[in-house]
Amino acid sequence: MRLLRGLGALILLAASSACVADRAYRGADRPNGLPNSVLNEQLQTRQFDPTQSEDPKVLEKPWPYRLTFIEFSDRGEMFDARQLDRALEEIAAAKRDAAARSSAARTLRPVVAVFVHGWKNNASDSSGNVWGFRQVLAGLSLQYSPAPIVGVYIGWRGATVSAPFLEEFTFFDRHRRSQSVAVPQMPDAFRRVMQAAKGPTYEDRSTVSVLVGHSFGGAVLETALTQGLSDEVVTARQQQRPIRWPADLIVLLNEAQEAERSYPFIDTLVANVTARPPCAAPGEERETLRPAVISISSTGDYATRAFFPAAQLLTRLFHRPSYHGPDPMGVGSATSLYFSTTAHTGALRSHLLGRADDPQILDALKQCNPAVDTTLFDNTANIHYYIVERPASKNRTPYWVMHMPPSIVPDHSTIFTPVFRQFLVTLIAQALEIGPHDRVLAPAAP
């Protein structure tokens, strides 16, 4: 009995000392001694891509970027609205800087990359996601050199407990919070950031803009954006004009959210946007269209593949599957959409992603040219990864869904591997070379 009391006291003590406060980790104008919410930084090549070269001069070359933070409380309100103002100022300054340094021979396109972190992370420097995002920004700096790079890190309370083992039990609470935190102020913050990057009507093509959300951060991002995206798609069809996507690419990575929350938007796309034309057969030339959203999960992500359905089974007692739409992809059951994430729902998957020598990819290549061809370690190993249309997929919307092999991302949390960082940077560059999938269907009959 005494032992149990001792153990209980120890666990309580550890748990209470391991609580992660609901507070800002960055301060606009450095109030209260917090680190600045705008950082002017650089990383050397060896610090984010050690495979670039053996030449020490290349490996020590610095790649500059600006990193800004916008943090939200557990109730979804900004801790300090000036953080957003500072981020907008940085984007405006980067655009001015790029315009000033552009010439007739060379146009510099500033890059605005937004990242929403996932579970067990926040905006502090002890969060691995902050460092991984820094490495991505440095990679973008190398890719688009000498264009200015601005990163916007969206912080929320992804971690409530930091003690090992105990933190695993925060899953249920953070899962629900990831969907509620995105509602009050985030949609407007995203709108303002994207308008700063791409202009008031998102038609400024001089800026490269990317939104990335990981795990519950994917849920935050999708929840915050879906309403605005749906409205834009419907309005574009009513006005018979191309869709103005707020970002060049939206990437949901190992997203930990029920597919039933993504599917209504896919419904809207099916109902209002022209279907992607059939892929070009080998040797054939045909226009390829860029996706607006890519939902991509690792096959090694057992957290969303096995644990997520298990957790959903427990919460099933208190929730009901909510999808009652037309089911254009033929998923067949609302329960499937409740238990699975989008990328793990087979009927929604539109593409295959894998190494060029993967048998599945080789099979798909017999029918289609690759939609995207990214080369990793192009100075050394030169390994190709292809995104190829999945044979017989019903998903022909600008919302691409696919699995990725563990060689790119081995599990749920280890996202910022050198391979994935390179893959993301080259994917963005490749995707931007093709035109957006923005054409709408003819007006609906009255």
């Binding site: 001792g6 930091s162 593949r305 359905p309 050198p418």
Partner: protein
């Protein structure tokens, strides 16, 4: 801490209840000490230093040189332990503590083993309560992790099962059940080290996975030492080491097929949820 646990296991029967308390408490304390260890093993200053450096950022219009925050990164954060191209000695030590001695897997494994040993009712543990069994298993797991760590240091193998530099390999990954099983079993015997500058496939060198062997021996010996007052201690050491080594092969196969097993698990849970 290991010494206290070890001594506690040797106390005479008269003091057994105190021994139980000490073993269980030191196991729990070890578990919750993870963040502190990580902090100690981190680079000097760690997060706080990074925070101070970043505070000193000049405003944009000052036109000064951008700051490189790399020196202040928390090298022992799990993100760097999994994604750094090559691990430093300090990171290897962190990996040993965080992902070996104090990992969630070690804790859950100890709970499972303690509960399972009750069902098995082996003579070496007969009559012991759960706390003592748990403490013993947790300590045994910590000693096993230490053996693995020493093995990886001696053989210079990368302690990670899938170090990121393997992405440089141009050979076609194995496909099909038998090919993948053979690959998994081989990976438990042959590991890798990437020698500087680690930019080409030819920089990846094969190493014997001594960590699995030493870890298994350490586990077997620890299992026997922690129950020396029980019969068949020497036999159990050998059997324990062999079963631990066999388990590393089973784990390698499990890791290889984890994507398929995860998909299967997900399907089972969905099935329970009905249509």
């Amino acid at each position: 801490m290991g010494v206290i646990c070890h001594d506690a296991a040797h106390l005479s029967p008269m003091y057994h209840s105190r021994a139980h308390t000490i073993i269980a408490l030191c196991a729990a304390a070890t578990m919750f000490a993870a963040p502190a260890f990580a902090q100690i093993l981190s680079v000097s200053g760690g997060t706080d230093a990074a925070v101070m450096d970043n505070t000193a950022q000049p405003p944009r219009d000052a036109g000064t040189e951008p700051n490189n925050p790399w020196a202040n990164r928390p090298v022992c954060a799990s993100m760097f332990l999994t994604s750094d191209w090559q691990l430093t000695e300090k990171q290897r030590a962190c990996n040993w503590i965080q992902n070996g001695v104090l990992s969630t897997n070690a804790l859950l494994g100890a709970v499972w083993s303690a509960e399972f040993s009750k069902l098995r009712d082996a003579p070496s543990e007969r009559g012991d309560g759960f706390p003592l069994r748990f403490g013993r298993k947790f300590t045994q797991s910590a000693i096993k992790a230490t053996g693995s760590y020493l093995g990886s240091v001696i053989s210079r193998e990368d302690p990670r099962r899938l170090p990121p530099f393997l992405a440089l390999r141009t050979t076609i990954p194995p496909h099909g059940f038998f090919e993948r099983t053979a690959h998994a079993l081989t990976s438990n015997v042959i590991g890798y080290e990437c020698v500087d500058p680690c930019t080409l496939e030819t920089d990846i060198k094969k190493r014997f996975v001594l960590s699995a062997v030493l870890g298994s021996i350490a586990s077997g010996v620890a299992g026997s030492v922690l129950t020396t007052d029980r019969p068949d201690a020497k036999d159990r050491a050998l059997r324990g080491a062999m079963s631990a080594y066999a388990a590393t092969f089973a784990n390698a196969v499990f890791v290889e097929f984890k994507p398929e097993l995860s998909a299967f698990g997900g399907r089972v849970f969905r099935m329970f949820g009905g249509r």
